[in-house]
Amino acid sequence: MLKKIDKKMIVLSTTTFLIIWQIASMVYPIVVVPSPRSVILKVFIYLFEKEFYEDLGITLFRGAVAYIIALVVGILIAFLIRYSEILRKIIYPYLMALQVIPRISWILLAMIWFPLNSTIVIFIIVVTIIPIISLNTLDGLYNIDYSLIEMAKIFNVPKVEMVKGIIIPSIAPSIFSGMKVALGTTWKTVVMAELLTVQTGIGARLSYAKAAFATDHIMALTFYIVIVGLIFQGLLTLLKNHFERWKMDA
C-alpha cells in the first residue's frame, strides 16, 4: 500500500521537476539552462561512447587507488597514535591541521610539486581523506570496551583471536562511518582534481564541456557522477550491513 503511494509520489515529483525545467529552458538561453530533452539525449549518447567508458575507468581507477592507500595508511596512523604516546603527540596535531587545509591549496601545491598525471590526482585525494579515516578509526579504538579484553585474557583467548573477535568488531562501525564519508569525498575530489590538473578522466571531460559552453554535457556527466557515486555508497552499505548483522532485529 505504502509502496504504491511512494511510486505515485516519485512519478509526480519527477514530472513536476521536468515541467519546471522545460519551462525554464524555454525562458533562459540554452547555455544557462539546456532543455531536458538535450540532456537526456547526451546521457544516452554517452552510453554508446567507448571513450566515455575509458574516462570513467580512469577516474574510477584513480579514486580506488587513492581510497585504498588512504584507508590502509589512515588506519595504520590511528593505531600508531592510539598505542604510542610519543607518536600521538607528534602526529595528532598534523592530523588536525590536515583536516582544515582547503582542498584547493593541496591542488595548487600538488600542481607545483608533481607532474600532471594520475599521481597528482591520487595525492590530492589521499591527503584529503586520510584525516577522515584516521580520526574515525581513532574514535573506535578509544571506545573498545576494555572489560572484554580482560575477559578474553582471563579465559586464555589467544592474541590473534582477541584482535579478530574483539578489536576488529569493536572498531568496525567507526571505520565504516569514516569509509562512508571518505567515499563521498573521494568521488567529489577525484572529479575536481581531474578538472583542474589533468587531461583525462570524467573531471577533464567536465573541463572540456565547460570550455565549449556545453551545459547539457556538464549536466549529463554530472548525472553519471551521481549515479556511480550512489552505486558505490550502496555497495559500502551492503558490506557494512553484512558486518553488523548482529545489530539487525531477528
Binding site: 572489560s147 572484554l148 578474553a152 585474557k153 582471563i154 589467544p158 568488531p169 548482529w246
Partner: protein, 269 residues
C-alpha cells in the same frame, strides 16, 4: 597437588581511598568459599586481584601460578556481535576437542536453560538471560579456580535455585576452588564450605565460618542455616556502619559462638 591460595598483606588504594589494608585470607583448595559484605567494600577488587587483572599496591598471593581461571564477572561481559553459542565457542576454542565442541556448548546452554536461544545475540536477550549465558561460559571453561561475582543476580527465585543446584552439581562432579561473592547470605550458606564476612572500607575479615554440613543436604529454610543467617546479617550490618577497624571484630565477633547451635556444622577459623 595444589595448595591453598594464600592472600598475604595485600594493600590496595584507589586515589585517597584505601580499599584493602593489610588484607589476609586463606582460600581453601577445592572448596567453595563465599564472600559476603556490603556494597563497595572491595569484594570485586579482591576477585580482580586474585585473578591478576588488578595489581595490588603491595603484598602477594601464593600458590596461584598453576591455576586455570574461569570468571563470572559482575557484568556479563558478552560479545554483542556473537550469538549465545558463538560467545561460548569463542572462549572454548582450542580448549575443548574440536569435534565435540558444538555438542559441549549446546549442553551448557541447555544447563542454564538457554537451549532455545543459542542463535540469539545478547541484545535480543533479557538481563537474566545474559547473566545465565555468562554463567554457562564460566562453567563450561575448563578451570581449577572459578571466580564468581554476584553470579545469580537478576534471576527470579526458581531460576536462582536452579542455578545454585547447578553450581552444587558442578562442584560435586569436578571439585575445584571456587570463590563466590554475593550479597545474599542465604545463598552463601547454601553453597559455601566457608563463608567470609567482610567489613566496610578498608575491608577486614569480620568472620570466617567453616560449614561442615554436606552441600547437598542444605535446603532453604532449614533452621540451622536460618540461625547462622541472622547472626551473619547482624555482623555485616555492624561491620559496615562505618566504624570499620579491628575493634569491631573484638567487640562483636568472638563471643557470638556459633558452636552453641551445632558443634558439627561449623567451627571458627
Amino acid at each position: 597437588m595444589h595448595k591453598n591460595i594464600e592472600i598475604k598483606n595485600i594493600e590496595k588504594s584507589y586515589g585517597e581511598f584505601q580499599i584493602l589494608d593489610n588484607f589476609n585470607l586463606t582460600i581453601p583448595r577445592d572448596k567453595i568459599m563465599c564472600i559476603v559484605g556490603s556494597s563497595g567494600c572491595g569484594k570485586s577488587t579482591i576477585l580482580n586481584i586474585v585473578s591478576g587483572l588488578v595489581k595490588p599496591d603491595s603484598g602477594d598471593i601464593s600458590n596461584i601460578d598453576d591455576k586455570l581461571i574461569s570468571y563470572v564477572f559482575q557484568e556479563p561481559r558478552l560479545l554483542l556481535w556473537k550469538s549465545a553459542k558463538d560467545n561460548l565457542k569463542y572462549v572454548l576454542k582450542g580448549k575443548i576437542d574440536e569435534k565435540n565442541l558444538d555438542e559441549y556448548v549446546e549442553d551448557w546452554l541447555d544447563n542454564v536453560g538457554l537451549s532455545d536461544y543459542k542463535d540469539f545475540y545478547p541484545r535480543q536477550m533479557s538481563g537474566g538471560m545474559m547473566q545465565r549465558l555468562a554463567l554457562a561460559r564460566a562453567f563450561a571453561m575448563p578451570s581449577n579456580l572459578l571466580l564468581m561475582d554476584e553470579p545469580f543476580k537478576g534471576l527470579d527465585a526458581p531460576l536462582r535455585h536452579k542455578m545454585i543446584e547447578l553450581l552444587q552439581r558442578l562442584w560435586e562432579n569436578d571439585k575445584k576452588t571456587i570463590i563466590f561473592v554475593t550479597h545474599d547470605i542465604q545463598e552463601a550458606l547454601l553453597i559455601g564450605h566457608r563463608v567470609v564476612a567482610l567489613s566496610g572500607r578498608p575491608a577486614e575479615v569480620l568472620d570466617n565460618i567453616k560449614l561442615n554440613m554436606p552441600i547437598k543436604d542444605r535446603k532453604i529454610g532449614c533452621t540451622k542455616l536460618n540461625r547462622i543467617q541472622g547472626t551473619l546479617y547482624e555482623l555485616i550490618e555492624k561491620g559496615s556502619l562505618g566504624v570499620n577497624n579491628c575493634k569491631i571484630k573484638d567487640k562483636y565477633c568472638p563471643p557470638i559462638g556459633f558452636d552453641t547451635i551445632n558443634k558439627n556444622m561449623f567451627n571458627y577459623h
